[in-house]
């Protein structure tokens, strides 16, 4: 079996004040560096937000945004392929629920061959093990370097 850490992916998390133009500034920086965004979400609380993104080159995205003055950090997440049909999300969610793994937050995107669920969980190793056990498929970190 492959090493579990193979499936731990670096998400970039960017602090952003909640005001017009901040997302555009982040997106523009990534465009200039030709960094592709697979998926992203914005979490908002009380005047500020965190932009979370899965990109094809997290290290360079981190460096670029930091140089621009943004506060950036890496967060470990996992990305699970789902069947893009009714019940797809349920399968994954059930596996994690049964295993007692808590989902802190999640977002999804629909890729070329499957839908992908990005998950921040409290026990990443346990989650990876259970998903593989149940025949699920995870995206490897090599896609994101």
């Amino acid at each position: 079996m492959e090493k579990k850490s193979e499936y731990v992916i670096k998400q970039i998390s960017v602090f952003s004040e909640n005001r017009p133009g901040r997302l555009a500034a982040i997106a523009e920086a990534l465009r200039k560096e030709k960094i592709n965004i697979f998926a992203f979400s914005i979490a908002e609380a009380n005047g500020f937000g965190v932009v979370r993104a899965l990109v094809d080159n997290p290290e360079r995205a981190h460096e670029t945004l930091t140089d621009m003055g943004f506060m950036v950090s890496f967060t470990d997440v996992i990305a699970v392929k789902m069947r893009d049909e009714p019940g797809g999300l349920y399968e994954t969610a059930r596996i994690l629920g049964d295993a007692g793994v808590n989902i802190e937050y999640s977002y999804a995107y629909s890729g070329k061959d499957a839908a992908v669920l990005v998950l921040r969980v409290d026990q990443a190793e346990e989650a990876i093990e259970r998903i593989i056990e149940h025949g699920g498929e995870l995206l490897s970190r090599s896609l994101f370097t």
Partner: protein
């Protein structure tokens, strides 16, 4: 080290006799000003009624508003011909206050400043970068002439162009710097960005706005200096009326040149040493613009213990000007208290902005603070926790619920002169 050992250490009966003589002279000088002639007549006191220094209590107060109404030269006691310079105060509302100086006044001022700078150990061996505004503001020129008087090598850098300021410190081997505390923080920040070590720098003098002890620690660590507090206002010539000595525990006022009282700002009653109240100053040697019992609006107290350095009675560091004091839902808040709290929290920077609004007849205070880059985990919940932590710390010190907004590092305004961190949008209360 003393510049004028005799005057700096004058005490007891000798000081009281000198103060009395000079107070009588000052009242006589003030009688040349129509405003004071009327005031003194109304109060029924004249120079001849001042028989001991304790009689000062019978003299009427002078308020800032009185000076504003005298715009431009209504408080001058000498013909304009004898006025060799004017400065103005930074009036935030309406007309500024104009202050004038005779040649002797400028001489007196430079002498007091020379005492101050000598007191903190500066000599003609020092290179002094004066990063306060030159011009109508008294800060720049006030320090300039005192520093020249003791023979320091003066770099009149004024404010602005912070990178150039750092380069000058390094290239000229500057040993002492003078600025507002907020600009001192800015200098530290830019020096760090530039990787400048500022090895030559030993002494920092900061004034023109209140600053906390946490700010002192921060300035000392980041600039590699010993930091001293300076105090004054245009109405007392300018900066230099009081200064810390090397003990750095309170500020020595020059009692041969200023007569001090601390009063209850509500009742006007004179308070004793150790009691906090409003500082009232009667300058004793001012020719062009004598003032009687001037209400400074600054809150402090006379300190009881004698200073080991041998100089006269000290005042406690100023927490805030009563003008700076905010009244939020009936609670008094000084911006310097906010700064003090923020400096104790490593997760946030020391820069801040305060916005005050009235919503549904209730004052709302919102404080913007910068997150420290190293403390960003990427998790929203950590940010929310930090926000609550900052609000909690502020609540504990201020006794007031505030709302805290976290902003990106480097995004808040930096100030070169006096910081303007409070935006009060409440309008008039009726």
């Amino acid at each position: 080290m003393f510049w004028n050992n005799h005057m700096e250490t004058l005490s007891g009966a000798e000081l009281a006799a000198l103060q009395l003589k000079r107070l009588q002279w000052t009242v006589r000088q003030a009688e040349k000003v129509p405003f004071y002639r009327a005031q003194l007549r109304e109060a029924g006191v004249g120079a001849d009624d001042i028989r001991s220094i304790d009689d000062a209590v019978h003299l009427p107060f002078t308020r800032k508003q009185d000076l504003r109404e005298g715009y431009p030269f209504g408080f001058f006691a000498v013909p304009l011909k004898q006025v060799v310079r004017i400065h103005t105060t930074s009036g935030t509302t309406g007309k500024p206050t104009v202050v004038g100086y005779t040649r002797q006044d400028l001489e007196n001022w430079a002498d007091l400043m020379a005492r101050d700078l000598t007191m903190v150990g500066l000599t003609d061996d020092d290179v002094f970068q004066n990063a306060l505004g030159y011009g109508l503001f008294t800060g720049g020129l006030g320090f300039h002439y005192g520093a020249e008087k003791i023979g320091m090598t003066v770099v009149p850098s004024a404010t602005g162009n912070t990178k150039r300021q750092i380069e000058m410190i390094e290239d000229f081997g500057v040993t002492a710097i003078n600025s507002t505390p907020s600009y001192g923080m800015r200098l530290a920040e830019v020096a760090e960005e530039m990787g400048a070590e500022l090895d030559s720098l030993n002494v920092g003098i900061f004034g023109a706005e209140p600053w906390s002890d946490n700010m002192r620690k921060e300035l000392e660590e980041r600039l590699g200096i010993t930091a001293y507090d300076s105090y004054g206002m245009s109405e007392m010539y300018g900066p230099g009326a009081a200064f810390e000595c090397e003990e750095r525990n309170g500020l020595h006022f020059w009692h041969d040149s200023y007569f001090l009282e601390i009063i209850d700002p509500e009742t006007g009653e004179v308070l004793g040493p150790g009691e906090r109240g409003e500082l009232v100053v009667t300058p004793l040697v001012k020719e062009a613009m004598p003032l009687i019992r001037y209400r400074t609006g600054d809150i402090t107290m006379l300190m009881e213990d004698r200073c080991p350095c041998g100089r006269g009675q000290k005042i406690a560091r100023i927490m805030g000007r009563s003008d700076d004091m905010l009244v939020i839902r009936g609670v008094n808040v000084f911006p310097s208290q906010i700064e003090h709290v923020l400096l104790s929290l490593p997760e946030v920077g020391e820069q801040f902005m305060v916005y005050i609004d009235r919503k549904h007849h209730l004052d709302e205070m919102r404080i913007e603070v910068e997150i420290n880059r190293e403390c960003f985990s990427g998790e929203l919940k950590d940010l929310a926790r930090l926000q609550a932590h900052v609000a909690g710390a502020l609540r504990e010190t201020l006794g007031l619920r505030t709302s805290v907004t976290l902003v990106e590092p480097g995004s808040l305004p930096r100030f070169e002169g006096k910081a303007k961190r409070v935006i009060d949008r409440r309008g008039e209360v009726w």
